[in-house]
Symmetry: C2
């Protein structure tokens, strides 16, 4: 990293800090106006078709990415089209419709000395988002930050650089159009990892870093950051089917968890089956192989799931992100708890049971950001849990554990109204 490059990044951060101070005092009406303006511009782009500056920029990114030989899953994430632009616009309007968390007085009490003390919700300040080549994240993150009164520094994958520039121009135009500080949203040039180190080292200027992407990226950020980081490591989600459980329900939970959208972090990765229901349940799970399910099981599983092949040690604790399911037959509820404690990733854990006692115990003792009884792992999601749009799912416990919505981009400060109180 050149001194000049580092100075450029510092200047971006200083502008963000100044903008955040102004933005923190802006009321909901102005922020929502900027968001609605942006949604309109995005729809306009969608209706322009090939004349859209955003879609033209995206076409260039895609062309380069194809020549560079990017895998098809990444090309798909990079792709924008008319319907995706409209979906992004809809998401912006959904955020505009959400309550503004800033200014909420969450407590206020009178102390014995007459001092009224309480806590009020305020923005965090400057939030740096580091993500891969997914242009929709540029808009999602910008909009969540602005609505919660935070300045956003966006550092997306270099493969999406043109798309991100075009989209962030729309965002900045919309912010400017309603008189808010434009530097509330800034793109950080992709650069290399040294440049990223400078950004995540800006203690005093950046309040929070949220990395979204592969485990390597997140570990790099956690290792080198000098400002707080919200980490979202992989989702190794388990479903434990208890003795006496409703097995039809169990099969539906496997099907929904594993096959509906296997590439996401709240997809199911490992099925734990109580010994007493293995012979009845596993043939039904095995039948899902006709729909593409690949089972990797222990010796007991292989007895009842004919399509299964033997699991290796690496299959337990693995985030497949594919239609592969690790399966293990356990002797008891306790053994299932131990397996989850050993292999789980603190993301999402489910029990399928009819036992009141074990349902409640599972909810209490399992350490994960979301623990469910008789429901799909796929419900660990901001929208499904009633939070609204999310900026990520935290698997670390500080500040936020689980999906992070607008509220989690704020903090509480104490305020006190007195009439001369002293100690």
């Amino acid at each position: 990293m050149t001194t000049e490059g580092a100075a450029t990044i510092r200047a971006l951060c200083e502008r963000a800090r100044a903008a955040s101070r102004a933005l923190s005092a802006v009321g909901r009406a102005d922020k929502d106006r900027a968001l609605r303006h942006l949604a309109e511009k995005l729809r306009e782009q969608a209706s322009l078709g090939s004349r859209s500056t955003v879609l033209a920029a995206n076409a260039e990114d895609l062309e380069n990415a194809k020549q560079a030989g990017l895998p098809s899953a990444m090309l798909d994430r990079l792709t924008l089209n008319e319907s995706r632009l409209r979906a992004i616009a809809d998401a912006v309007l959904e955020v505009a419709a959400q309550d503004d968390p800033v200014g909420e007085v969450v407590s206020m009490q009178r102390r014995p000395n007459g001092l009224s003390v309480g806590q009020i919700r305020i923005p965090l300040g400057v939030i740096a988002m580091i993500y891969e080549a997914r242009p929709n994240v540029t808009v999602d993150a910008a909009v969540l930050c602005v609505k919660s009164g935070n300045a956003a520094l966006l550092r997306g994958g270099k493969e999406a650089a043109r798309s991100n520039e075009a989209l962030s121009d729309l965002v900045r135009d919309s912010i400017r159009a309603v008189g808010l500080p434009t530097d509330a949203v800034q793109m950080v040039p992709p650069g290399d990892r040294d440049a990223m180190k400078v950004l995540i080292g800006m203690s005093g200027l950046v309040d929070l870093v949220i990395p979204r992407g592969g485990e390597g990226l997140i570990r790099f950020v956690a290792e080198h950051a000098r400002v707080p980081v919200i980490q979202h490591y992989k989702g190794v989600c388990h479903l434990y089917v208890d003795e006496g459980a409703d097995l039809e329900m169990a099969v539906k939970l496997v099907e929904n968890g594993k096959l509906q959208r296997p590439g996401v972090c709240n997809a199911l990765e490992c099925l734990l089956v109580h010994r007493d229901v293995a012979s009845a349940l596993l043939p039904k799970v095995d039948a899902l192989s006709q729909r593409g399910l690949e089972i990797r099981g222990d010796a007991e599983t292989l007895r009842f799931a004919k399509s299964a092949r033997a699991a290796t040690a690496e299959d337990y604790g693995c985030e497949f992100l594919a239609t592969i399911l690790a399966v293990r037959v356990v002797d008891s509820f306790e053994q299932a708890l131990d397996h989850i404690a050993q292999y789980g990733s603190n993301h999402t854990e489910v029990i399928c049971t009819n036992s009141y006692e074990r349902a409640e115990r599972f909810l209490r003792v399992v350490d994960a950001s979301c623990v469910l009884v008789n429901a799909s792992t796929r419900f660990n999601d901001g929208g499904e849990l009633g939070l609204g749009a999310e900026i990520g799912i935290s698997t670390s416990k500080l500040h936020a554990y689980g999906p992070m919505g607008l509220t989690h981009l704020t903090t509480l400060k104490w305020i006190a109204r007195g009439n001369g109180q002293t100690r």
Copy 2:
């Protein structure tokens, strides 16, 4: 750091992790029994006088510290005696009397699909406290961690090593006496900074590091930690006296903020005076020089405060921790806000005013963990704000901003009760 030394620290952390898993499921009654047992043991030690193992250990620490030439303020902090032991016992009983935050269901709602979703309070897990030679912190931190269901790793200053060992033995005996896992509280040998690096690098085993002490210690921890850190930097607290303010009240706030206990972080460090009240207020503040106040002021201040000497650039933004007060006369409310934004440390800020508009604006826009109107800076304190005992005052915004009580040693996990819901 030798490989062996690092392995010892890792083993401590692994034992803490195992103990934290057991402790997280323990109910309030058992935790409170351990705390009451400890309070009894501390009182017993107090009544034993010179035959007390704790006081004997402390006498050794003090003897060594005197020979090493420790300054008197540090010797005072290191000293234990009968009345201090009783005060520590009282503090333990106060924590026992507080509600247990663990298990609180803070929200629960029914989603349109019938899924009941909500959030429940859980312990953070393993908390490492790093502090200087203050033996009372050993008990305070252990008790707050145990009550909130967390395992504690305590790393105190080496000058207090014998006192800390004796106190932590009492804590561990009390935990053992009621059948809780003894390794819920462990002392980490003081060692050098390389040893500290190992401790604060234990990602996956330690959930939170709380450094308490001088700025150098905190910066070292923030720089080298690989686990989340709650930082408490210095308190550079301001009082702004507005035009039209009650000047008798203003003098009382200066007196209480600066002279009652000048060595603490919520003491007043800088007085900002509106030009229109400078001639009336400053002679009254100047009169406090008879009680030891030393004023360092700008040119305008020197006109009205006869005992004052000229402030240097370093006096603004300085945490004196002594009966020294920086004073500046400002032209306007806006200039006071700018001064605070430039020199404040996000700790505690006060306005003394009779203007409704400026009081509300100050509360809203000043960025500090506690912002007060017409009350002393000294109220930024867990007990005074109704939180109960505190483990520190955070000046960073993530997770907690301001005094940290039992609640801030917990996090929220999502739980969901369903009957077969899928997406």
